[in-house]
Assembly symmetry: C2
């Protein structure tokens, strides 16, 4: 017996990926409904070979589905997730609204699938995009040598800000070629051929909310003892986030040992050869459309005891959002929590 699924926020960059990935991974869906706001009613969306017509989320009867994958922004999620859960469907939410709620599991299936067993409100939260790819890469090394501290800098693509943000990069870049004026709308400054060291709002301590998310979400998902400090920046890339991670461990771990661990770890693909004649490392454009999180440039950091560095790249719309959400649904199914 299959699962009745609704994708809430289906017209967004992440919502579209959710539909694609449900089809690609042969999720055992009996029905799939594409839901969005009223102005998108009737919009046609691809789900594998099929075409779905968008329905109005406001008037949808959620008691008729088992699972709702949400990517409709924090405010919508805050209002709707509890209503949907009350109607009897499990919600896997991609916004930041529920992530730090102690009664809501925050899950990366390769890292903490067991957290799903403690589901209380019928809501599971999908972590922040840059957090997901970071913890997938940190987890096997943490198990091996105990991570104490991580210093990260991110190179995040515009798609992390949604379709409008990608469109703005495209438009501004074109404007530069035809000598039109640049008018930032989505981003606070020009994004074309530029780098913006501010993602999400500023917090009281001077960090941005994106940086704060990486710190607190890593603690919740991986280990509260891990201290993580981040500088997050937006780069003029469409899809694919990079994280430069400088890691400190309790116990000694060589780069060679780390590579052999990462090579076997779930969800990871190690592409790493620092050989000038035949180099191998991954860049964002190469990660697009892939399920894996890529790790390159694993090396020892001699400036600290038991230090390692690595370069982590992933498709932020997939592993950083839609894929992880679908994987959570698969795990809910495998653990018998989600039933058709």
């Amino acid at each position: 017996m299959g699962i009745k699924v609704a994708v809430f926020g289906a017209t967004g960059a992440v919502g579209k990926e959710m539909l694609t990935i449900l089809a690609e991974r042969l999720f055992p869906a009996e029905e799939v409904h594409a839901l969005a706001s009223r102005r998108s009613i009737g919009t046609e969306l691809s789900y594998g070979d099929r075409t779905l017509k968008c329905k109005d989320a406001e008037t949808f009867d959620f008691s008729k589905v088992d699972l709702v994958l949400m990517s409709a922004g924090g405010d919508v999620s805050k209002e709707w997730a509890p209503k949907i859960a009350k109607a009897g469907a499990l919600v896997v939410d991609n916004s930041s609204a529920w992530r730090m709620d102690p009664d809501v599991p925050l899950v990366v299936p390769e890292v903490n699938p067991e957290a799903l067993d403690a589901i209380k409100k019928g809501i599971v939260a999908n972590p922040n995009c840059s957090t997901i790819q970071t913890v997938v890469a940190l987890k096997p090394l943490h198990d091996a040598a105990g991570i104490t501290r991580v210093s990260v800098a991110t190179y995040q693509s515009t798609s992390g800000g949604g379709q409008e943000a990608m469109d703005e990069l495209w438009r501004q870049t074109r404007a530069i070629y035809v000598n039109d004026p640049i008018e930032p709308e989505h981003f606070p400054k020009q994004i074309a051929f530029n780098v913006i060291p501010k993602i999400d709002i500023f917090m009281e301590d001077g960090a941005t909310k994106e940086e704060w998310k990486m710190t607190v979400e890593t603690k919740k998902i991986l280990d509260p003892k891990i201290k993580l400090f981040a500088t997050c920046a937006r780069v003029p890339v469409f899809v694919g986030h990079c994280v430069a991670a400088h890691i400190e461990f309790e116990r000694e771990i060589s780069a060679a040992k780390a590579r052999s661990i990462l090579r076997e770890a779930p969800g990871l693909m190690l592409i790493d050869r620092a050989d000038e004649d035949d180099p191998a490392f991954v860049t964002p454009v190469e990660s697009v459309g892939e399920f894996a999180t890529f790790v390159s440039r694993v090396r020892e950091d001699p400036t600290v005891e038991n230090g390692l560095a690595m370069w982590i790249v992933s498709d932020n719309l997939r592993k950083g959002a839609a894929l992880n959400t679908v994987q959570i649904a698969e795990t809910l199914l495998n653990r018998g929590i989600l039933k058709g």
Copy 2:
């Protein structure tokens, strides 16, 4: 009495900036010669309001000038700098050829001008672009609280790779708009809408030479006791490098104290307000054409004792190359080492 100057490598991105900056800063030049390889003979270059015609460096009589600013690549510099010095002119070289030679001062005038007094070979080296902006920002904080370790990630523009590298970004970006194939030539992978975590060649320990340069040059310029670990990446920006620096100090230093120190420090401009209603921080496009190194996003790093983070942005063709070279010449003049 003025100084007779030659710019060797005048047709390159940095060489052109050298001519511009000599004029802008009213360097007391009695003569300025633009030198390049034979194929550029006769090429016209701007020096303030004047136009210079390129001469052949091979056949130029260096005994007729007092100062040669070189930006012609490492190999040319290795061959020519000693010959020029032997002919009696002081050489300020922008390549990496002489930087780590113990008899060659490696100088950032705001940081270690006194190193010029130990000039032995008639050659002064200009540091790597990302090192310069980093040490200018670190120096006043090091004086105040003693830096022990710095973890940096860089976001470096294509102009660091010269005019060809900038042209490749321009060409590849255009190709994406008109659906032409992307063919990397200068860069190892696509640079348009992408990030490349490899600048210069790989070293034996897995670091790139760019990362190694930041480590060893910071020691030589600022303090051999400072441990610096870097991940360097190329971003699709034309001009302006960013450095995310996470710094550890011997003694306590608050973000507020650091800001008040940075505000007064030579060569720096503090633009830093983490106020969501009226934010202030600097991006690469805003640094273009400026002399200053900009510091933004100064904040405490609570994951380590006495930790601070900051975001450092500078025009890599100016402070990162041509400006620093001209400032070295000015300092040589002020210290009575360079005479007309």
